[in-house]
Subunit: 126 residues, 2 copies
Amino acid sequence: MSDALDELADFVSTQELHRILQERGASVSLATTYRIVQSMADDGLLDVLRADDGEARYRRCEAHGHHHHLVCRRCGKAVEIEAPTVEAWASRIAAENGYTALEHTVEIFGLCPECSAAVAAEHSEE
Amino acid sequence: MSDALDELADFVSTQELHRILQERGASVSLATTYRIVQSMADDGLLDVLRADDGEARYRRCEAHGHHHHLVCRRCGKAVEIEAPTVEAWASRIAAENGYTALEHTVEIFGLCPECSAAVAAEHSEE
DNA sequence: ATTCTTGCAAACCCTTTGCAAGCTA
DNA sequence: TAGCTTGCAAAGGGTTTGCAAGAAT
């Protein structure tokens, strides 16, 4: 069930999650995986991120309020970050332009320490 | 051709763009529209944004380097904004966590003045 | 004639959904 | 039994691509 998601520290797509569940022997169909993930996301239990390819990636969300992420684009490892300065900046900018009903996305992508090293190693081999 | 895109001040999906082109009498197929948009995006001529539904939206980019947007989620109208403070903040946060090869997305969504009014009107009618 | 561009339709991928079967209360 | 959960397969929606016809050089 959704218990499995609890262990997920990183962002995974529903398809990846399904694969992981299968590997662990859990008998869950893709459809059900999608259903679980969707309902959890609706309940605000998961953070959602859209990859550049349009695939949605989810992550168990510790935090309660509004926050952002520093995500490794290679392994999905994520660090939750807060950005009070950015929040204020966003509100100000929006107000200056007369925009209302605000929302914003602030995500930083990069390579985590491990993946930075891994990639560097790959390059030196070539 | 791609000339048509020049007039686009706002973010549109490829499908919308195709519809617009058709209405103007241009005979372009959906496939070609996708091809044009994709190549322009590859050349950095367009800004790309992913909607929550996974649809990609493009906008003619004035092309002066890195910048962000304040986008109306109803009509797509966008204002280009700069955020030196945020850039610095992002670099710092990432560095503190040992992340490299950074990239970040900072987009503010809301309702532009016109749409704010329109929505308010709709509500008062109900 | 060679090369690039276009359209069409089929293929892809992620995601959602109808429906019948299995559980649960 | 009434109601919710699940799996399967089909359908949906956006996007890409193989291939043959047409335009450009």
